[in-house]
């Protein structure tokens, strides 16, 4: 993972800020146990981090005090591999970017780990396995693998497995290609462990993990006349427990829950979740800011979390007429929509995540800020993922945007927000309060440390 180089301030600040385009992280995902963390970047590479197993690590639930038991399970690089290469569509004379759009881990079934990674067109299944033993003592081959001269073999030996340095091998096991005409934006592994879905702008396909030469189209919203196209699919996900249910979001701000038992082609939704538009606040940008950029089922499967440009919403699966909770992520941008439209920032797609107990939701914003909302109290907090202001293992302090009233020290004015520093991709550990935040080409990992001095949890940071 590339890191921006530190240079002396002043004359060389432009060098310091220079980021190789290929190193920009485009997706982050924990596996099902949280021991592995995968990131994908614009250059088509995947980097997998593994959490250190710490001797004397206290079981989860107890206080984890820094310094007493040593490292509290840091994440270190486990494996790096090139997942996708740049490609070229000869028929259309267009490039196919190698940028990894999404990574999803499969539930672990044996010693090996499997993950799906996708770019705009092709999904690949990768097997990540360890090898720490090597057979030695072959009769017909020598140590380097060359064939021995038969005359030198005088006795038979049984090859034995000897421990070697740990090697992590990554191999592509399946390549699911030619399934999509448009750009793949989501993949989601089904709870049945056998299938997964992939969604592009107009269609959703279901694949079997073992079959690469065909997929089943389950949603198709492409109009017969492309002139009539007004809505696209922006995200899709399978229900965490019910293998027949999935949801997809659209650029018009609606969510559709589909039941695959109802019909083979799920063009007709089972449930449509839509919030009626407030006629008073209608503007030319209403539709654009209502476009859903990410949708996630809660871990318990009862709620949906969606992110549109200005808000994050929680929906109850049993109530279609509107969200049950709405959180303002950066409402101060509402008056700046025209400029944000001009510089294309209004089309940024932010992700959103649940914590393990579904009590907290988190999403990103600009200026390296990200927001966490406690669903019980309804309160939100702004945090910053920026190495200049946080040292490793320092406690994160909350930030504030100044929007009027009394200005406190440390408040950031709306006009001084850096819109190039966007937190689009993030992940929350499935069981613990550990979060991974991608900020351009840097990955920040924050862990929850319950300090004996303060009341509530505070976050310590590790920067990778």
């Amino acid at each position: 993972m590339g890191e921006d180089t530190e240079s002396s301030k002043g004359n060389h600040s432009f060098l310091r800020d220079y980021v190789t385009e290929a190193d920009v992280i485009s997706t982050v995902e924990f596996n099902h146990t949280g021991d592995l963390l995968a990131t994908g970047d614009k250059g088509g590479r995947v980097v997998v981090f593994q959490r250190e197993t710490v001797v004397g690590h206290k079981p989860k639930g107890e206080l984890d005090q820094v310094g007493e038991t040593g490292e509290s399970g840091e994440y270190n690089v486990y494996s790096t591999f090139q997942s996708h290469e740049p490609d070229f569509d000869y028929l259309k004379s267009l490039e196919i970017e190698e940028k990894i759009n999404k990574i999803r881990w499969l539930p672990q079934q044996n010693a090996a780990h499997f993950l799906l990674s996708t770019n705009d067109k092709t999904i690949k299944l990768w097997k990540v396995s360890e090898r720490d033993k090597q057979p030695e003592g072959y009769n017909l081959k020598d140590e380097e693998g060359r064939v021995k001269d038969i005359s030198t073999v005088t006795s038979l030996q049984v090859p034995v497995l000897r421990p070697t340095d740990l090697m992590v091998e990554v191999r592509p096991r399946r390549v699911f290609s030619n399934g999509h005409t448009y750009h793949v934006n989501s993949i989601s592994v089904n709870s049945d462990g056998e299938t997964y879905l992939s969604a592009d702008d107009l269609r959703i396909n279901m694949w079997h993990l073992g079959i690469t030469d065909r997929s089943f189209n389950i949603v198709d919203i492409k109009p017969a006349n492309m002139e009539e196209l007004t809505e696209v699919i922006t995200a899709a996900e399978f229900h965490p427990h019910h293998c027949h249910l999935f949801v997809y979001s659209s650029s018009k701000g609606s969510l559709r829950l589909c039941d695959m038992r109802a019909s083979a082609l799920c063009d007709r939704h089972t449930k449509l979740f839509e919030e009626p538009e407030d006629p008073g606040s209608r503007s030319f940008f209403s539709e654009i800011v209502s476009s859903v950029s990410d949708v996630k089922f809660s871990h318990n499967g009862r709620y949906l979390l969606t992110r549109d440009y200005l808000t994050a919403k929680v929906w109850d699966l049993h109530m279609e007429k509107g969200p049950v909770e709405t959180y303002q992520v950066h409402d101060y941008l509402r008056t700046k929509l025209c400029s944000l439209y001009e510089n294309d920032c209004i089309f940024d797609k932010f992700e959103c995540v649940w914590n393990s107990s579904d009590s907290v939701i988190m999403t990103g914003a600009y200026n390296s800020f990200f927001r966490m909302f406690d669903r019980e109290t309804g309160r939100g907090v702004t945090l910053e993922a920026w190495r200049e202001t946080s040292k490793p293992r320092a406690v994160l302090r909350t930030r504030r945007i100044y929007t009027g009233g009394k200005r406190r020290r440390g408040d950031v004015g709306v006009d001084s927000l850096d819109f190039t520093k966007k937190i689009l991709h993030m992940a929350w550990h499935p069981e613990e309060n550990i979060i991974a935040i991608a900020s351009t080409n840097n990955l920040y990992i924050f862990q929850d440390r319950v300090s004996p001095d303060t009341q509530g949890p505070d976050l310590g940071s590790d920067t990778i």
Binding site: S93, L94, T181, D201, L229, T234, C338
Partner: protein, 308 residues
């Protein structure tokens, strides 16, 4: 964000002779200013949206979601403008100006309106929207001139390379499915025209050929979402264009891309491409050569390029 004309407009309305009671006129002036400010905002938003729809990275398919959202915004503005009559006023004004145009006034006007830029903005707006290339061969060549002008101004690129195989790039960059049926052209319905003439190019006024090329209204939305089929471009009726692009063939661009492994490289200008090819002195190809045919010539060019 607003074109420079805003302030002038404000002071212009102030300078208007005030007849009768000043108070009454003040409040009505204020209302007028608010309305004109709103319609200026709306107009600038429309212009911005049209530019966004046209400016697309030619190497990679543009984001369909973004294109759809922008197109919906344009539609919304057009509907509103039709409702408050602004659309009619503009179309009438322009139809009067385009009396000599070859094609039907309604369609011309509609496309012209869409392509219209405010006087003030025209000079300063850097990326001129270039006309979307027709997917059927015929008007493609007429579009070339416009694109050339636009490209010359901005150093814009891919699009001007494409004209030889007009269907190759611009429509294709939206990367959608083909099967475009041409809409019937007889309708005078403004709404229809809005729908159809969602985007087009042309910054300059008063050029007949440009007008012709802009009557792609039936294809404008198509170009936004339409696919991309490699078709044979019809021979160009314009000798100047013919000459300029005679030795540029889109297939070469493909080759260049493939050979040089260009990835997210900023677009090459038409002159860049011409330079790179002219140095090897390729034999001029007629514009009617399709990408697929004439592999011998492709081989010949490849040899030249690879051999150098």
């Amino acid at each position: 964000m607003f074109p420079k004309g805003t302030k002038r407009k404000f002071s212009d309305s102030r300078e208007e002779p005030v007849a009768g009671g000043e108070d009454v006129n003040q409040s009505s002036l204020a209302a007028v200013r608010m309305l004109s400010s709103y319609s200026l905002q709306r107009q600038s938003l429309l212009d911005m949206s049209l530019i966004k729809l046209q400016l697309c990275h030619m190497l990679v398919e543009p984001n369909l979601c973004r294109s759809v959202l922008i197109a919906n915004t344009v539609r919304q503005i057009q509907e509103e403008m039709t409702q408050d009559g602004t659309w009619q006023i503009m179309t009438q004004a322009l139809s009067a100006a385009n009396a000599a145009a070859q094609c039907s006034a309604d369609r011309l006007v509609a496309t012209e309106v869409l392509c219209r830029q405010t006087e003030a903005a025209q000079g300063e707006q850097v990326p001129k929207p270039f006309p979307v290339v027709g997917s059927e061969g015929c008007p493609a060549e007429e579009v070339l001139e416009e694109e050339e002008a636009a490209a010359a101004e901005v150093g814009m690129t891919m699009s001007t390379v494409s004209p030889q195989a007009p269907t190759s790039y611009l429509p294709g960059t939206f990367g959608m499915d083909p099967c475009w049926e041409e809409e019937e052209t007889g309708e005078d319905d403004d709404d229809d025209e809005e729908e159809d003439s969602e985007e087009c190019g042309s910054g300059s006024e008063g050029e007949e050929r440009e007008r012709d090329s802009l009557v792609e209204d039936t294809r404008t939305a198509e170009q936004v979402f339409g696919t991309f089929e490699i078709k044979n471009p019809a021979p160009s009726p314009d000798p100047a264009l013919e000459e300029l692009f005679s030795d540029v063939d889109a297939s070469y661009y493909d080759l260049d891309t493939v050979l040089t492994g260009m990835q997210s490289v900023p677009k090459m200008g038409p002159y860049d491409l011409l330079e790179s090819l002219s140095s090897h002195g390729p034999s001029p190809l007629s514009s009617s050569t399709s990408c697929r045919s004439d592999l011998n010539e492709l081989d010949h060019i490849m040899e030249i390029i690879v051999g150098s």
